[in-house]
Amino acid sequence: MARDPSVIVLGEDVAGGAGANGEQDAWGGAFGVTKGLIGRFGANRVLDTPITESAFVGAAGGAAMTGLRPVVEIMFVDFLGVCFDQIFNQIAKFRYMFGGKAVTPLVLRATFGAGSGSGSQHSQALYPLFTHIPGLKVVVPSNPYDAKGLLIQAIRDDDPVIFLEHKLLYDTMGEAPDAAYTIPFGEANVVREGDDVTIIALGRMVGVAEAAAAALEKDGINCAIIDPRTTSPLDTDTILEFAEQSGRVVIVDESNPRCGMAADIAALIAEEGFDTLKAPILKVTAPHTPVPYAPQLERTYIPDAARVEAAVRKAVAHGA
């Protein structure tokens, strides 16, 4: 924001305290992420909004087309439903419908994911919906270092970017240099090398995959872990390269299974990486259900290391 005066931040309580007598900047977003910005950049560039996502997300789109670089927050990705038209029919399609005339540099930040006991309407993943829509870029970081590099890239990117942060990852500590750096979109991160099975995982599931891989290693099963980092664009080359290497693939994803992210990646490999496959492409995902509230149910809903381990063992056992 310091670098580029056209960057603005808007959303509900991105500062917090507007019109109140107490502390201003009381919230800094639902998760405190934008705290301090209003003090540095002023209320002209850090705008608290009313609860009207269609109006302010759409306004961010119109502003992006006319000279600003808005970073807009909608707190929980689950709220996309009240402003989905502005995202998928307007913002995503301006450039195409207008024959390439429009440039819409916009970042839509939202939290996603289950595990916080927030219930069916505050715990979904939903990035498959955005990934399905041409014109959108979709980022799902799995660690602080990537989150910073990808966010800076998103802000500097000239296309609309949906930037989704898993709400349980805010507490993960991790190395992230103070200096600004960018991570290009469409470049997967090879989290771990390993010849026996290739695990592809996103967001919080990367950690789950790592836990499983560590346990499996003790039994001499070596897993590679690929974190695509962005679902659109998707780094198909790296995915196919590693799928080919091991010939055994397990995809771990927190989103629902039907037309989901795991299906998308599995279909890619089944078409372009078929010949070297030695086993069925296994998916470890959430079930085809909403997210339940009770912790015991929520834990069952979310893919865990045990299920990943079992899938990997099944892949290894196949035809061996």
Partner: protein
């Protein structure tokens, strides 16, 4: 307005139940045994009870994220509610919904809602059912001063107005949407918004049970007789932060103290009925004790109740799915 001693006691008991229920939930949150977060209704009791007291069991309400008060006022059983908040299988929603999705269709409670503005169309649908099936039931749509800005509010005002549906809009204005003041976020006048859609609209003191109740009686009368929708704007007070984890620093200590001191709808009610010699303190104190015991009991039962079994994750997605 005239109310029988029994009705007055019942109204007070309901308000008192909401207050103690919410205070207790806040305490239980601190033990770490309650999943997630809750949005507490404490301070706004006169609004929920003033609105729901004159309703029938067959009338329906659709609520917000801050729905405990509405649920209790509409007759939901607090044992089921407390168990739901604890995520137990004995909960109102089998532990699958949680605080933000408490619903009891048999009581005409169509659900709290995690989406601000989400309830308005749903309540509108209940009003449409009543009209289409020639029942003289009414439906109530709750929203806050923040939710009133959501597009669903205007759309539903328009739809209910042109179809003359028996729908009553309740805008509970506690001055804040999360940390944002309604003086900042909500332009113009809320009753004027209703009037602009030809929906008769009034503003009442949401801390005064009787004022809310009387406004409701007029609105219900209009709705049942085919006169169409109404809007009631109740000015009220939110005692806790936006949610159980909110430090609430955007309000000064002074104003929060003053609020609890001067804007207590339960004190107002007690003063009013005792001064008018309609009820005496002894009777009201007795209610307080009863309610306290009932809320204690709900927590004990909730804590003792079984958690859902893993297989429950897969149930209730569809009525039938091959």
């Amino acid at each position: 307005m005239q109310m029988s001693r029994e009705d007055l006691l019942r109204a007070y008991r309901t308000m008192r139940t909401i207050r103690l229920f919410e205070d207790r939930v806040m305490l239980e949150m601190a033990t770490g045994d309650v999943p997630g977060n809750t949005h507490l209704y404490a301070g706004q009791e006169a609004s929920a009870v003033g609105v729901c007291f004159p309703l029938r069991n067959t009338d329906r309400i659709a609520s917000t994220h801050r729905g405990h008060g509405h649920s209790i006022a509409k007759g939901c059983d607090i044992d089921g509610m407390m168990a739901e908040i604890f995520g137990k299988s004995t909960g109102t929603c089998h532990g699958k919904g949680g605080s933000m999705h408490i619903a009891d269709l048999d009581k005409g409670m169509l659900g709290a809602n995690g989406i601000v503005g989400g309830a308005m169309p749903i309540a509108c649908g209940a009003a449409l059912s009543a009209k289409t099936l020639n029942r003289d039931d009414v439906a109530v749509a709750f929203t806050g001063d923040g939710g009133v800005n959501q597009g669903t509010m205007a759309e539903t005002l328009n739809l209910a107005s042109i179809w003359k549906l028996p729908l009553i809009f309740i805008v509970e204005d506690n001055g804040f949407a999360e940390a944002t003041s309604s003086s900042y976020a909500t332009a113009g006048s809320i009753p004027a918004r209703g009037e602009a859609f030809n929906v008769p609209s009034v503003a009442v003191d949401g801390l005064d049970f009787f004022a809310v109740h009387d406004a409701m009686r007029d609105a219900i009368e209009r709705a049942r007789s085919g006169g169409g929708p109404s809007l009631i704007h109740t000015k009220t007070a939110r005692y806790y932060g936006h949610f159980s984890g909110d430090a609430d620093t955007y309000r000064t200590r002074e104003e929060k103290e003053a609020m609890r001191r001067d804007q207590d709808c339960l004190k107002h009610f007690r003063k009013r009925v005792t001064e008018a010699a309609l009820l005496d303190d002894a009777a009201l104190d007795a209610v307080d004790r009863e309610v306290e015991a009932a809320v204690d009991q709900s927590v004990i039962a909730a804590r003792a109740a079984p958690v859902p079994v893993a297989a429950d994750v897969m149930t209730h997605v569809y009525v039938s799915y091959p």
